[in-house]
Structures are given as structure tokens and as C-alpha cells.
Symmetry: D2
Subunit: 95 residues, 4 copies
């Protein structure tokens, strides 16, 4: 795993729908129609995270979910963060 430099991050983030950079982490906010849908999404993501051995910092308030992704092993953003962000988008998209 290697730390991505700012230039590479800046060139890739625009291709990741809904995500931006916040506090040197990938950041996205998700909103849901109700709490059961919000928490069901979190459950799907929790299972994927354990499989990837890569866990987010996330804050939930009712139907709102904020996610920050970074790789503490490299003290920055890595490919793994982009991969998890893409998997979260794929899960979210069809709802």
C-alpha cells in the first residue's frame, strides 16, 4: 500500500461521484429516505469493510451518513480508499 500524492488524488476524485477531500481524507455524505434504509446500507458496508480489512470513520444521524476514508498505515489516502469508495457508490447507486 502506498500513499497517493496530492496530484494523483486531485485527478481521481472528480471521477468518484459524490466524493471530495476533507481533512486529507476521502469524504462523502449519503442521505436516505428513512432510518431502516440508512442502517441497512451501513450493514452492507460493514460486511464489505471487514472483507477488505479496511474500516471507515463514519458518523450517522438518523437518515444522514458521513464517511471519511484514509489509510492509517500510510498516514494518508491510498488505492484502498478509492476502492472502498467505489464499492460504497455501487451499493448506494441503485436505491
Amino acid at each position: 500500500m502506498k500513499k497517493l500524492d496530492l496530484e494523483e488524488i486531485a485527478s481521481r476524485v472528480p471521477h468518484l461521484a459524490g466524493w471530495s477531500v476533507d481533512q486529507e481524507k476521502l469524504f462523502r455524505e449519503f442521505n436516505f429516505a428513512d432510518f431502516p434504509r440508512a442502517f441497512g446500507f451501513m450493514s452492507s458496508v460493514a460486511i464489505i469493510c471487514q472483507e477488505m480489512n479496511h474500516h471507515p470513520e463514519w458518523t450517522n444521524v438518523y437518515t444522514n451518513l458521513k464517511v471519511w476514508l484514509s489509510s492509517h498505515e500510510v498516514d494518508g489516502i491510498s488505492d484502498r480508499d478509492f476502492e472502498l469508495a467505489e464499492r460504497m457508490n455501487a451499493l448506494f447507486a441503485p436505491r
Copy 2:
């Protein structure tokens, strides 16, 4: 809560996409693209069930989920089963 008679059940089931009657219970099978999606759906449903105080009999194997709904209070199928079935369909539909 009252027990619905067979005639009423037979007239309503055809309007409930995917559901049939099995062993005097409402029955539906759901299939998902992967296990995280299957279990995320179950988490959403679990939250709704507790809110309705009405819990299913359900069996999961990997990406497959079978659900049986009935109301033990009336020893049969009630309006509450139709309501939960509809809420499960609404959650499932947009995926």
C-alpha cells in the same frame, strides 16, 4: 387484529408481487447480487419489524432469503402480514 379468511387472502395475494401462500403463511423468496446486499436488506427489515412489533420466520443461505409471515396471535394471516410484506417489497424494489 383479525385472521383473514382464505377467500380474502386469495384475492389479495395476486396484488403482492412475488408473494404466495405456503403452509398457511405468506411466503416470498428474495435473491441478491451478493451477501452484503442480502444482509443489508435483512438489517433494514429487522428494524422495520421491531417498529411494527411483528417478526418474520426467515431463512438465509448466502444470497438467498426465504420469508414466511403469519400472525401467531390469530393463528393465521392478518392485515399486519400484508403490511410487512408490502414494506419488504418497497425496500427490495429499487435495488
Copy 3:
């Protein structure tokens, strides 16, 4: 539901193991042996929250969970926050 005054909150918080007041909300941090235990706890709490129609602000990072409880209906802390805090403690205690 009524907003509790500071005096009442200050007298009750010491009886609520692990909780304190942060930013005019009830606050507690939970730590778990691993991520599956952390998220399993969150799932139990999510189901209880929907039943109470009272949802937390919570932030999870791996095995750490921070929870803030307040009642936006009264713009402060109410009995309901104490009740949810106690139910979370009861779920956490025996692990």
C-alpha cells in the same frame, strides 16, 4: 417530552455508568474487542432506536464508538435520552 434543566441532568448523570455531558448532549464512548462486536452492538441499538423513535448521533471508527444523545424536539436533553442511554448500557454490560 420536556427539556431537563442543568441541575436535574447533573444529578442523574453520575448514576449512568460511563456517560457524561458533552456539548449539551449525553455522551459515552464504547470500545469493543473487534469490529464484528462493535457493529453487532450498533445493530442491536439501531433496532431499539427505531422502536423508541429516538436516534443517536454516533461515530464509529473500527472498534471505537462514540454516542451523543439529545432530543431536538426540546432542544436539549430529555428523559428519553436517559432511557436510551440506559438501554445501551444494558446491552453493553454483559459482554
Copy 4:
């Protein structure tokens, strides 16, 4: 992964608290104080299963959970089933 023979299974099952053999699968029934605890346990297990890439057949009705474990790759019971059974016991034990 190899299929364990009946003799080996019979010698190991007695050391696995609560488990027996049913329909050529490892089988255990779990009971919980309430539905939030039952489903929280299932959430923890779901996360572990994805990590192990080994998923159970399980049936839940309210506070009751029945689990059958087998390895379709070997058409029988393997070490992996014993490992998952032990991890489920470890999660359940301290409650």
C-alpha cells in the same frame, strides 16, 4: 479444504458446546433475551462469515436462531465449519 469423516466429526463435536450433527451438518440453536440481541448477534456473525468467505444456513424466528454449517465445496463438514462454530460460540458466550 477436506471433508471430515464421520469418526473425526463424532470425536470433535462433543468439545463444541451446544452443537450437534443434523442432516450431515453442524447444528446449533441459540436463544436470546430479545430480538435486538438476536439480530445484533446475527450482524456480528454476518461480518465474520464474509471475512471467512463461509456462510451459514440460518433460520431466525424472533429470539430464536437455528444454524446449520457445512461446506458445499466438499459436500460435507470441514475444518472451516468447526472454526466458524467456535467463533460463533465465542461471540455468544459472554452475553
